[in-house]
Symmetry: C2
Subunit: 333 residues, 2 copies
């Protein structure tokens, strides 16, 4: 019986029908998260939403990784301190744990290391780790939470970023329609969505966009078959390695919730899924998709939107009289 | 028996002890809210948190009226479009329904009218009502919600601001320790807090800061006994009426959750409750409080922090290919 099902499935696959998934699908369902240290996650939630980690007191992690909008800001590049124009598109924090590395160029190995970056980046939150620690230390409510979580109330940047990362690890999006289909609900997808998935596989998209996250596990050259033209000056891994062969090599972005994480690519230049699909086919695979094929692939991509994390908007502990005063318009140092 | 209790209470009041409240207290407890139209409130929650109501796609109502921090941004004046410096301190949205008027100068009668202001203010969200309507109309998820709430999917600025106001009406903060004491829990306040309340009443603070909100129900001159010195150019009601007698007349701010809504006054120049208390005594009442008296009043004021609204951080419906593209750095028109 089992053999028969597999055999029938394989026939269907070869016919582009895929009535039901086989055990060989290149994409795996998102696993729901198990929270092991709720107090640490709660502290991390507060810090993630706290604008006092920025120089101005106005920008939080959530400003650019907005959990109301797929963990991104839906802008080409992000607004930073003094309305600075960020150099690159903000990637989503959703399902971000467990990638091969963090940032488009992979310059941080972990979420903890990533979280430390924007706090001190002059074009982003523009604080310093010293000031961030001074601010959080001055807030009695935070000190009490640090004591509860870490055993004593010492505040340092490692504890701050550990807490933020612990929160971010909970930001997974299980139970998308595609995952329901993967798990055996044959009615979870329409015929067009299934056709799009077949095309996604047969075209070779899954060479890069596979696994649980449909990306995030490797680096790849942007413009593999044809060069990618952009006015954005980011060169990807090349900026770290200095090697010419790494020019325009970026981490493959995840496609989970891609319906929500527009605009696309490291430069945010593709506004729509249609545009992104067409360009990826052309530049990475040397394929010219028809309008119908683009529509099918886009229909499939939209089935990857999972259940968004349920966040109780945190109430932040108030500053004390000892907390440094925030002045968004203070002269730049 | 009743008479005896009142008599004893009045003796206590005259002694500055106030073991328990009388029925004559000038402050009334905050009533919990009854949500009558949950679908309208849910729509309003989304719109309140949606940065697409701004020109840049970066600033939402919540940016300056942050529900994580007492419904304010804890800045002297607010950050607006292109990092504009706002002219006046952002008042809290908490308990804001039912005030005599909205804004420091009372220029809007209702929350609906208020909500329409910042969307189109060039120093704040810097959109236009036309653009806001175009954006929200282009989002299928919103159109479906408008249809559910209003019977058809027409989007206009009135419906947008009606929904935001309906959400804001739910933002009340009942059950503060002070309210628990008012309702008969004699142990809810410490001796110092009770002494602070007695002083607050006997000094005359309750002439302005009384009722359920401890303010928000009248306008008063800032600098009643001595003139208030500030570099802020706002002149309050005068700016609307042109009458000299209205110069420096502002709406009396509410003191509910005042522990969270720093910095204080229309210009945000008082950073601490101690500073604000001392200045109010001096400028409005001609009183020089001792350090001990200031500490007592501040201790009382901190008992006014109520239960903060529990907000499920909303998931916003994604833009469509027809949604205007946001460019925070677009040239100013």
């Amino acid at each position: 019986m089992k053999k028969l099902v597999v055999a029938v499935s394989m026939v269907c696959v070869s016919m582009g029908v895929a009535a039901q998934p086989t055990k060989y699908e290149p994409i795996k369902p998102v696993a729901p998260v198990k929270v092991e240290n709720p107090a640490l996650v709660e502290l991390g939630t507060k810090l993630f939403f706290d604008p006092r980690l920025s120089r101005s007191g106005f920008i939080s992690c959530n400003s650019c990784h907005n959990l109301a909008t797929g963990g991104v800001d839906n802008l080409k590049t992000s607004v930073g301190d003094y309305w600075a124009q960020g150099p690159i598109n903000s990637p989503t924090v959703l399902n971000s744990f467990g990638q091969v590395a963090q940032f488009w160029d992979g310059r941080a190995k972990t979420l903890e290391e990533q979280a430390a970056g924007p706090i001190a980046n002059p074009l982003e939150m523009a604080s310093t780790h010293e000031l961030a620690v001074e601010v959080i230390s001055s807030i009695p409510g935070y000190r009490a939470e640090f004591k509860k979580v870490f055993g004593d109330d010492k505040v340092d940047i490692k504890r701050i970023t550990d807490a933020i990362a612990a929160f971010e690890m909970t930001l997974v999006t299980p139970n998308s329609r595609f995952d329901q289909w993967l798990k055996g609900d044959s009615k979870a997808l329409t015929a067009e969505e299934k056709a799009g998935y077949q095309l996604f596989k047969s075209s070779g998209c899954t060479m890069c966009h596979a696994g649980e996250k449909l990306g995030g596990d490797k680096f790849m050259k942007m413009g593999l078959v044809k060069p990618y033209k952009t006015t954005n000056t980011a060169t990807g891994v090349h900026a770290l390695s200095g090697k010419d062969q790494d020019r325009m090599t970026f981490k493959v972005p995840m496609l989970r919730n891609v319906e929500l994480t527009y605009p696309y690519f490291h430069d945010g230049e593709a506004q729509t899924l249609e545009e992104a699909t067409r360009l990826m086919g052309d530049l990475q695979l040397g394929k010219r998709y028809t309008d119908k094929e683009v529509a099918q692939i886009v229909a499939f991509l939209k089935t990857l939107t999972g259940e968004q994390p349920k966040i109780a908007y945190p109430i932040l502990p108030p500053s004390s009289n000892a907390t440094p005063i925030f002045d968004p318009w203070a002269k730049k140092k």
